[in-house]
């Protein structure tokens, strides 16, 4: 795993750009790429969404299974969130067992949704102690040009909010929409050229340093945080990111809601 020379040149270039408040693709520091969000697009999933942010493309699919509740929580169903970073998504994604990076990716996205409490696991109970619904959210990257975290998180919550529990298929009654009470939104920031930027592209990630992921709910309630990669940051830097995440989070939450009929 020799280090290519390119990243060093790239890093220098990114520093220069940052000094002039520029980015590789012409964006400003807090600008995101254009976001396309589609819902209900997967034929065999019970909830689905597709997100395109620039050349990053991901799918999210929701499936339901019945499970026996855990003995210490007889009234609760479950939520499982699985993120796969398959080699289809880019030249650098070689096949093999999940890397530490992809494990972190899946767990951070999972926590952003789970810890917001947007899904009431008690409402998933069918027969206490015997049968409950398990919600399985599968995140699937097709094209990785950076910031999979936010793309996965956005597709994930949109797919869940779009999901219908297949009561009829299991002969348990009529199908019912899954109740999702919140819309947590993740915003991710990378240190690129010495300063933080929002929604880093693949090349910015390659030449960047540490990243910070902030998942907020309504009223800027904090649901999940994660700092990744080598690097340190100050309290002042973090305060600015939190403020930016508040603004951007509200914007993306509105986008999600705008696709939902009367929600």
């Amino acid at each position: 795993m020799s280090i290519p020379l390119v990243p060093q040149l790239l890093r220098s270039h990114l520093v220069e750009l940052a000094e002039n408040d520029q980015r590789l693709d012409g964006r400003r520091q807090w600008d995101g790429r254009e976001v396309q969000l589609e819902i209900g697009i997967l034929g065999n999933a019970e909830g689905s969404a597709k997100v395109r942010m620039g050349d990053t493309i991901v799918y999210a699919g929701v499936k339901f299974q019945t499970m026996t509740p855990y003995s210490d929580r007889p009234n609760q169903g479950g939520l499982m969130c699985s993120a796969e970073l398959r080699p289809v998504a880019g030249r650098k994604h070689e096949p093999g067992p999940p890397s530490p990076e992809s494990i972190e990716l899946g767990r951070v996205v999972d926590r952003g949704i789970r810890e917001s409490g947007c899904i009431d696991t008690e409402a998933l109970c069918i027969i206490p102690g015997e049968k409950a619904w398990q919600v399985i959210l599968d995140l699937y990257a097709i094209s990785d040009d950076g910031n999979l975290f936010d793309a996965f998180a956005l597709a994930g919550i949109a797919a869940l909010r779009n999901a219908v529990i297949p009561f009829a298929k299991y002969e348990l009654g009529d199908d019912r929409p899954l109740d999702v009470s919140k819309t947590p939104i993740m915003c991710s920031y990378h240190r690129v050229g010495g300063r933080y930027v929002y929604d880093a592209s693949g090349r910015e990630e390659l030449g960047g340093d540490e990243r910070i992921h902030i998942t907020l709910g309504a009223d800027a309630h904090v649901h999940s945080l994660q700092k990744g990669l080598k690097g340190t940051f100050t309290a002042g830097e973090f305060a600015e990111l939190m403020e930016q995440a508040r603004i951007k989070g509200d914007e993306l939450r509105d986008l999600v809601h705008s696709l939902e009929g009367g929600n």
Binding site: L42, G43, N44, A45, S48, D55, I57, Y59, G61, V62, K63, Q65, S82, E84, R86, P87, V88, A89, G90, R91, P95, I136, D138, Y140, I142, S143, D144, D145, G202
Partner: protein
């Protein structure tokens, strides 16, 4: 296979989805759907949806996988967990490994690997939505994506499966027909030469039935090959 008591074809030879015995399901082809790949293709076929990305030719590493006289073709067929009625657990299984291998064998028969010694070409076939015949859709879409990536080939490989249902031989089984059918004959045809690069079969066919299914596949492959050629010329194909 073999729940023969469900009636899948009516007295006029019309199938559950309205097709006649020799009809193929509707097909669409879109190129360049994976922007970061060197070549890519999205193919819908009935309600099947398949995405293929091609990466390469690039340096093959680790070095021990390099071949001195040709490129290595690294093909993966994978079903997304949400692609089927019951969720599929992620991870390679024996079925997907076998399909990956026979798909790779078929593509190796047409790709001019000897032009790229020591290099590697990756072909990633992702089944996003499955409705019978995904190995055929995947193989066909993979040969289109390889062409989209500019990899030199002697021919495309166009794949389709005929089978038997209620004792009648029909072309291009759909999901319901596949579940209740008595035999399945997927073939991979080179539309220009008429030769075969892929062949499997399961079930029970008399020699006559076998010949009928074979002929349906050959005819369908020519038609689908034309769709592919049109897509490659125009950047896409839509009925």
């Amino acid at each position: 296979m073999g729940y023969g008591d469900v009636q899948m074809i009516d007295e006029n030879g019309i199938r559950v989805d309205g097709r006649k015995a020799g009809d193929v399901r509707p097909i669409s082809i879109e190129l360049g759907v994976v922007p970061v790949a060197d070549g890519s293709c999205r193919m819908t076929w009935g309600t099947n949806e398949v995405i293929v990305a091609v990466y390469g030719p690039m340096e093959a590493h680790p070095r021990k996988i390099q071949r001195q006289d040709r490129a290595v073709l690294d093909v993966r067929y994978n079903m997304a967990p949400f692609s089927t009625s019951d969720r599929i657990r992620p991870g390679f299984n024996r079925r997907s490994r076998e399909i990956s291998k026979v798909t790779s064998d078929a593509l190796e028969s047409v790709v001019l690997l000897e032009l790229y010694p020591r290099s590697k070409i990756r072909v990633e076939i992702e089944i996003i939505c499955a409705e019978a015949g995904t190995r055929c859709v995947g193989l066909t879409a993979a040969s289109v994506a390889l062409a989209d990536a500019g990899i030199p080939m002697t021919d495309l490989v166009v794949s389709v499966a005929s089978g038997k249902i209620n004792g009648v031989v029909v072309c291009d089984l759909n999901k319901a027909e596949d579940n209740y059918g008595e035999a399945d004959l997927p073939m991979g045809v080179l539309p220009n030469s008429g030769e075969l690069a892929f062949l499997q079969m399961d079930g029970d066919l008399s020699q006559e039935e076998f010949q009928e299914a074979w002929d349906y596949n050959m005819e369908a492959a020519i038609v689908i090959g034309d769709y592919c050629a049109e897509a490659l010329k125009n950047g896409g194909y839509n009925l």
